[in-house]
């Protein structure tokens, strides 16, 4: 079900154009990843999706109420605030309130019935593993806990869509992974997620849809497969772990249609010009030259690589 639709949306601040002609559809249950370099317009896009910003041109429509026709998200934000959760890049809670006080404070402001609010808080405390820290001042929590509390504050009213801006920024890899796992769980519970991040490997693992923002434009958006498709033909990589004679292997490889050979310490990465020709030629050469390989892997292009390709192209 379509929740939010962006139609040729542009946004500029004064003379500075930040986003141009962005069109995308966010459906219920999606886990969108908005990726891009710093300053590419990710946060602006998020704020447009959250209804916080009004587009300079184009439309951002919401369809939270099935019975009604899509309406301008920004203009009707006051009516649908309880449907949206927002977790900005930096923690957005009261450091001088305890964990429980923060959750209660934000939950009560959404006018939820007491029992529902208590249930929400209970389940969130469990999901965020904050049980045992209820009465601790938020400022004394660890970085990971603070981020979890922040997300919990954004979820306390059970929104249908949660917008997160760089939820893993400034966290160590373990905490990044924890947070992403937690968000996956949230998504599985039916909450649509839109996450902006530049941790592409994490995004690749959890997101089912991705929008690549570069130079104020969404260069590519859709499912990972859809994004990857244009790059599949020429963007496979072949990783070889050579046997005894590494030098001979490299000299043989140079006769094949290969764009680039990267010699790493214990393996060789090949960027073929034509994957089919290269693989055929490689297998023939191995047989003919009697070369021995310890390992051979053929990889699809990663999101990181696709992103690099796109940003280099544009």
């Amino acid at each position: 079900m379509k929740l939010i639709e962006l139609k040729e949306v542009s946004k500029s601040f004064g003379k500075n154009g930040i986003l141009q002609d962005v069109s995308m559809i966010i459906e219920e249950g999606d886990l969108w990843g908005i990726i891009g370099r710093s300053g590419s317009g990710k946060t602006t896009l998020l704020n447009l999706i959250a209804g916080f910003l009004e587009p300079t041109s184009g439309e951002v429509l919401h369809s939270f109420k099935v019975t009604e026709a899509p309406k301008s998200l920004h203009a009707n934000l006051h009516k649908i605030k309880d449907q949206i959760g927002y977790a900005p890049q930096h923690n957005s809670f009261y450091p001088k309130l305890t964990v429980m006080e923060n959750l209660l404070h934000f939950g009560q402001l959404y006018n939820l019935p007491k029992d529902i609010l208590q249930n929400n808080i209970k389940s969130l405390m469990k999901a965020t593993e904050l049980i045992g820290h209820e009465n601790k001042l938020a400022e004394y929590l660890s970085g990971g806990m603070q981020k979890r509390l922040d997300i919990a504050c954004s979820l306390v009213h059970k929104p249908r869509i949660l917008v997160l801006d760089e939820p893993t920024a400034d966290l160590d890899p373990v905490l990044q992974k924890d947070i992403m796992n937690f968000l996956t769980q949230v998504n599985k519970q039916g909450v649509t997620l839109v996450i902006a991040s530049h941790h592409l490997n994490l995004m690749e693992k959890v997101c089912n849809k991705v929008a690549i923002v570069h130079n104020g434009k969404v260069q590519s958006n859709g499912s990972l497969e859809e994004i990857r498709r244009p790059f599949l033909k020429d963007n496979f990589t072949i990783s070889l772990v050579p046997g005894d004679d590494k030098e001979r292997l490299i000299s043989v490889l140079k006769t094949l249609p290969i764009e680039k050979i990267i010699d790493r310490q214990n393996h060789i990465i090949i960027h073929p010009k034509n994957i089919a020709q290269t693989i055929t030629g490689l297998l023939t050469m191995i047989q003919d030259e009697n070369l021995y390989l310890n390992d051979l892997n053929i990889s699809r292009p990663s999101l990181d690589e696709i992103f690099e390709k796109i940003t280099k192209m544009k």
Binding site: I18, T43, A50, D82, S92, F93, Y94, L109, Y110, C153
Partner: protein
């Protein structure tokens, strides 16, 4: 030292680059000084509204009023009673009431009293009133004193000229009187030298002379005849010779006794002995004769003396007549001078030196200075507390990490403003309660007024809270916001009449300053607290404060709306600016 300078330079850069910080840190004091300079550099006179009451507005009273008006005092006439004027002082419309006598002309030895009615709670205004009006009345008093002294001095001068004129005449009269005096003295001496002692004996001189001439010779002849008879008898042989001789002897003795009496000596008459003067009767007669001769001589000498003094007495009489004439003239002049002096109605030195005296009466019940200062102190505390609380709360919210999240809460924009206001109000209410509770210990007489005072303070607190909140929305950092609040409070305080009387500032700023919420609040509390004013007396002030509160609330709502609208824009702008700067740096590094 280098490090210290580097750090200082960094601090200065940070201050200057933060526009609001630079504005408030560098320019707020300058702005305050400029404003105060404009306010107090005025050379014009005080903007005092003076109420004048007199039972009759005579010419000199009107003249005094005109001279006060020339000094740009606003004069309000009260013709019915001074109480009307006093009520207006309590209402704050009039600064001072002056009760004047019917006329300022001093016509007796009683000083004219001018009463000033001032509001003692405006302590710093009292001295201005004393200084300005006292000076004016002192001038008037000096003017009257000068006129009275002039009158007296002209009388004295007139007397002097008259005395000088009479001086020569009196000198001449003196000389003539001296001459008359010496003449009279001489006459007196001459008369004194006359022996006009009158003999005390009384006698018939002729009889004595006759007696002397006839009796004594007859006695002598009788005695001689007796002696002859004796001799004749003795020579005869008569039988009774002895008897005849005895009788003749008896006659002889009696004649001798008589002769002795006349010539002097003791005379025995039978058993009685009569004593006559030793000189005898004839001696006495001779003495009398001598006395009479002497008396005649004396009287002759007296007649001569009287004759000689007659001319002297005539001269003295003439002199004395001239003196009398001069003295009569002098007496007339003295009478004139007396009349002139009597015409001077004011002769008392105290009245002459200060014909007008001024007295200061305080309006309202006599209270301690704490009572007088109490309204200002209360508003001062409430103002700074509310201003700083308003600013701090807004700053706290703005700078709180949760600020961003609040935009996604399903709340009206005004709710946050109201919550901030309510927080301020709760804290201020507690403070007001504490202050009033503590004050109640010292101000037992005014306990009843404390409740309405608390109400007015809450309204004032609302205005100052909104003002503080407005400042909070206008500034970014808590420090500059706080500084701006303190500056705003100081400015309101400086043009409130607490530090310096508001009446002393320039008219333009004064007219603006009269809208100062501090002034309005303080005025209302003073009226309620000191003069027991009811709602009807202070409703306009309360309405103004309420108007301020509503106006400021509206402005804050607009500010909140604008902040909301531009928050993200500003946030995004700065974010993209940072990224562009970072990209530039990266390119340069490459």
């Amino acid at each position: 030292m280098k490090t210290l300078w580097l750090l200082t330079k960094k601090n200065l850069k940070l201050l200057v680059r933060s526009k609001t910080s630079a504005l408030i840190v560098l320019f707020a004091p300058l702005f305050i000084i400029l404003l105060l300079g404009l306010s107090y550099s005025s050379s014009s006179n005080y903007g005092l509204n003076i109420g004048i009451y007199a039972s009759s507005f005579t010419g000199d009273v009107e003249s005094l009023m005109s001279s006060l008006q020339e000094q740009e005092f606003t004069i309000v006439k009260y013709e019915t009673s001074i109480e009307d004027c006093v009520e207006d002082i309590q209402g704050g419309y009039i600064h001072t009431c002056v009760s004047l006598p019917e006329s300022l002309a001093v016509e007796s030895n009683e000083q004219k009293e001018v009463l000033f009615y001032v509001d003692p709670s405006k302590i710093n205004l009292v001295w201005v009133v004393q200084e300005t009006l006292g000076e004016k009345f002192n001038l008037k008093s000096q003017e009257i004193s000068k006129e009275l002294s002039g009158n007296l001095l002209s009388a004295v001068s007139d007397a002097k000229s008259k005395l000088e004129e009479q001086g020569t005449q009196l000198s001449s009269a003196k000389e003539k009187s001296t001459a008359a005096s010496s003449t009279a003295q001489e006459i007196s001496q001459q008369l004194n030298s006359l022996d006009l002692t009158v003999p005390t004996s009384s006698y018939d001189q002729q009889l004595i002379i006759t007696f002397k001439d006839t009796v004594s010779p007859k006695i002598k002849s009788s005695l001689s005849e007796v002696k002859d008879a004796v001799q004749t008898v003795q020579a005869s042989d008569l039988a009774d010779k002895s008897a005849i001789l005895s009788s003749l002897s008896g006659v002889e003795n009696k004649l001798k006794s008589l002769d002795t009496l006349i010539a002097g000596g003791a005379v025995v008459n039978g058993t009685n002995t009569t004593t006559v003067p030793s000189s005898g009767f004839l001696g006495t007669l001779a003495l009398l004769e001598e006395e009479l001769v002497g008396t005649k001589t004396k009287l002759t000498a007296a007649a001569t003396a009287v004759g000689s003094t007659s001319s002297g007495l005539s001269s003295a009489t003439e002199n004395l007549q001239q003196s009398v004439s001069a003295l009569e003239n002098a007496q007339q002049r003295v009478t004139e001078m007396k009349a002139n002096f009597d015409a001077q109605k004011v002769t008392d030195a105290k009245v002459l030196s200060a014909p007008l005296i001024t007295k200061i009466e305080t309006v309202g019940q006599k209270s301690s200075y704490l009572n007088y200062m109490f309204p200002a102190l209360l508003v001062l505390v409430v103002m700074f507390t509310s201003l700083l609380l308003g600013t701090t709360l807004v700053m706290m919210e703005k700078n709180s990490p949760a600020f961003f999240r609040n935009y996604f809460l399903p709340l009206r924009k005004g709710t946050f403003v109201m919550s901030t206001y309510l927080t301020t109000l709760v804290i201020t209410s507690v403070q007001i309660l504490v202050i009033l509770a503590v004050s109640a210990v010292f101000l037992k007489d005014n306990m009843v007024q404390l409740l309405p005072v608390a109400g007015v303070l809450l309204l004032s607190s609302s205005v100052f809270s909104f003002m503080g909140m407005g400042i909070g929305y206008a500034f970014r950092s808590e420090e500059t916001g706080t500084l701006a609040s303190i500056s705003a409070g100081s400015l309101l305080l400086f043009v409130s009449g607490i530090v310096l009387p508001i009446e002393t500032i320039s008219p333009t700023i004064r007219s603006i300053a009269s809208f100062n919420p501090f002034v309005i609040s303080e005025s209302i509390i003073r009226e309620v607290f000191l003069f027991n004013a009811g709602f009807s007396g202070v409703w306009s002030g309360l309405a103004t404060l309420a108007g301020y509160a509503v106006g400021l609330f509206t402005i804050i709502l607009i500010a909140e709306y604008l902040v909301h609208k531009h928050f993200i824009s500003g946030f995004m702008k700065s974010r993209h600016l940072k990224h562009r700067q970072q990209e530039k740096r990266d390119k340069n590094n490459v």
